[in-house]
Symmetry: C2
Subunit: 444 residues, 2 copies
């Protein structure tokens, strides 16, 4: 009835399908002791491949601009939530161990991933190799945080180092993403990216984050104090979202992914004292944000699953690629345990805790699949091909599945975790981790 | 960066602008003692006309398919919330007075509106006249409920009759909308709508509602009992939304507006016992739905405001049309007071309480503006022209502004309200009214 007005009625039945599949998949995986987000992904893979096998319903979803836009809004809400749960003060206090762990844990997987992609995708563009490397960088610490919490090990020095390093990882990963995307765009425009170009993009990314965080640090409390005096219901939620969307747009204008802006907005709003606000007894901003994430975030994960073509993965060489990529992802993060400077810390546990890629790897892969490069014959092709996308999804699933049992065994065997516990670091890291746990579960 | 992937970054800054404008406008109007929803509308009018005057930012919003889709999702969430706040049992118990009041209060404004449109828009299609009549039908009782609540008059017989009649109004209005839309679509396809065609559409609408409500009455509790046993966070919200979207899609397939399905879904879910559900201490489903409405519903109202071209309204004949249409809207609803059968009831207050059109009139006008008819020269034109749309918005604003002071005076002068109070009707109607109050405020 309202065709041409934006919302095709098929979008409605598509959203209904996505939500049902996401929750049923999430429920199954949670009952098996796995993160719900993997179930959402698996549900998407199932529906997508039923569609490929002849059930045509899902094809529409893959093509719909409105559903794609909702999925992107989901990622923005997700990263906003991650930012809200990350304390800027904690980020500045993480210490040298976290910084070194993060740097090693970003650089090694990036190089390994790049090498593996060169080996297994010889015909793909060099930029595709860089992009595969980038998907191996960031750590999705939500899964680790949940396991540590279940073991009562959140107050250990290991946990503190992992949490700090994961935050630095997020920022470094987003910067690498910005540079790789810049290189792709330069190439699509017919040029190549010089060293000066790389520096410019990295510089813009750093400048955006520094300016946003420093200016925001002074401006945001002043901006949001009047909001606390507004009487209209929902003023805080509306202005927080408006701020998040504004910074996402500014990040896009600065050549970064919009989700970098959403993350920065979350970091800044985390600092505001919301004590004055009428939050209607629901706890805090994260609680208000949660239903939005519950609608929009599963759209993202199911759509990611929809893009996986299992027929591609049936090819032995691609399964081999996925296996070696997974090995690179795991080994690459073990190197980062060399960055632990303190004595008496279970380095093996730290390395294991950095393994899961979860939503962050998927977000990067999704960005790559949406970017196009000129191909032979005037056509264009996505930077991350369907085949590479499938391999990355397998890597994400494998790294996420392997972490909980490995981490439990490492803590149990060494028994060192609890002895090295320090009580200082607690409040902040446990707050961050419980939140990140929810984020890792596919919900803000 | 992600152009062609659904979400243009400009959508983000557009959403930020919409949210800020909506909340600032709503805050101003609430401080003036007016409903917040009028402020959201006024904010949209302001931004839209600044854009017409040369500030080009808002033009993009008016064209964006994604923003239009979000606005439509907002209306669906809004009607879902209205349905959740309406008790099906209460609907069946409203008694003959409410039914008669509703029938008179729908038929009279429809005929008056049709006549006024014929008089003032002689060149428009006869279907446009019918559509203008339809926008006068439904009562937006939220504003009335809020005023009655402020006066402590919610337990009066008058309040009970108004609330019951408003529910019947919603259903009758949606059926008239379905028939008028069907007539437009038949005409756009080159035919006309016969009496048989009208009966078919009305029959389909009734059949959809009856089948959905009767089948749902038996099936929904059985369907949602297993949902209560799911452990995943947010399962209830996800499956409720999936159910709402599914019925919206079915309504669209039955030739009705999707929002009819959303309303029916809300009615049905209102019946389910949610005691088993883990609602995380946030109250109930309506509380979980609220942040979604806080994001999406203002998008609808600001977009409605954006469509009003004040230059059109500067033409005297159009201002005259708006004034006479407003008079028709007010007088038409006074006739319905003849339907009150009981003695000792302040009929004048009942008639006044039915005046506000609020969001329902706007939703109808928005549907009309999105429908096109073939025009001269092979082109198409919207059923509700920009000029007619402006006049309808003025009517909505005027009827909403006039109700609170008039109603207060009527109750104060007669002093009859409190004497005729019955204590039986309270729990249900006060629950419904407090909810509708929030709905009328532009928030679910």
């Amino acid at each position: 009835m309202t065709e041409g007005h934006g919302l095709d009625a098929s979008v409605l039945v598509g959203l209904a399908l996505i939500l049902a599949v996401a929750k049923l998949g999430g429920e199954l995986f949670e009952r098996w002791g796995q993160p719900a987000v993997l179930g959402e992904l698996a549900g998407g893979i199932l529906v997508g491949n039923l569609a490929l096998a002849g059930f045509t319903g899902a094809e529409f979803l893959r093509e719909s601009g409105v559903v794609a836009a909702l999925a992107e809004l989901g990622v923005i809400i997700l990263l906003f939530g991650v930012g809200l749960e990350t304390s800027l003060g904690e980020m500045l206090e993480v210490g040298w161990s976290s910084l070194l762990v993060a740097l090693l844990g970003v650089a090694t997987p990036f190089l390994l991933g790049w090498g593996v992609a060169r080996l297994f995708l010889p015909d793909a563009s060099p930029l595709a190799h860089l992009f595969v490397g980038a998907t191996l960088c960031a750590t999705s610490v939500g899964i680790t945080a949940r396991v540590l919490k279940d073991m009562g090990a959140l107050r250990t020095r290991e946990a503190r180092i992992i949490m700090g390093a994961a935050v630095v990882d997020d920022v470094l990963g987003l910067m690498i993403l910005a540079v790789v995307v810049g290189a792709v765009e330069a190439s699509a425009a017919g040029g190549t990216l010089s060293f000066a170009g790389v520096s410019l993009i990295a510089g813009k990314a750093v400048a955006f984050l520094v300016v946003a965080l420093v200016a925001g640090h002074f401006l945001v409390p002043r901006l949001f104090r009047p909001v606390g005096r507004l009487k209209t219901r929902g003023a805080l939620l509306a202005f927080s979202l408006a701020f998040c969307f504004l910074l996402s747009w500014l990040a896009a204008r600065a050549g970064l992914a919009p989700l970098v802006g959403a993350f920065a907005a979350g970091l800044l709003l985390d600092e505001v004292e919301f004590a004055d606000f009428d939050l209607r007894g629901t706890g805090d901003l994260e609680e208000l944000l949660w239903p939005l994430g519950a609608l929009l975030v599963p759209v993202f994960f199911v759509m990611m699953g929809l893009r996986v073509d299992l027929r591609e993965l049936a090819r032995p060489e691609l399964l081999g690629f996925a296996a070696v990529l997974t090995a690179a992802a795991i080994i690459g993060k073990q190197v980062c345990s060399l960055g632990v400077l303190e004595r008496g810390v279970n380095r093996f546990a730290v390395g294991l805790g950095m393994i899961p890629r979860g939503e962050v790897g998927l977000i990067f892969a999704g960005v790559g699949a949406a970017l196009v490069l000129p191909a032979a014959g005037g056509a264009t092709e996505p930077v991350i091909s369907r085949a590479a996308f499938g391999a990355i999804v397998i890597m994400v699933i494998a790294t996420t599945l392997v972490t909980p049992p490995a981490l439990k065994r490492a803590f149990a065997r060494a028994g060192a975790g609890r002895e090295g516990a320090t009580d200082e670091a607690t409040a902040a890291s446990s707050a961050a981790s419980s939140g990140r746990g929810a984020g890792g579960g596919g919900e803000v």
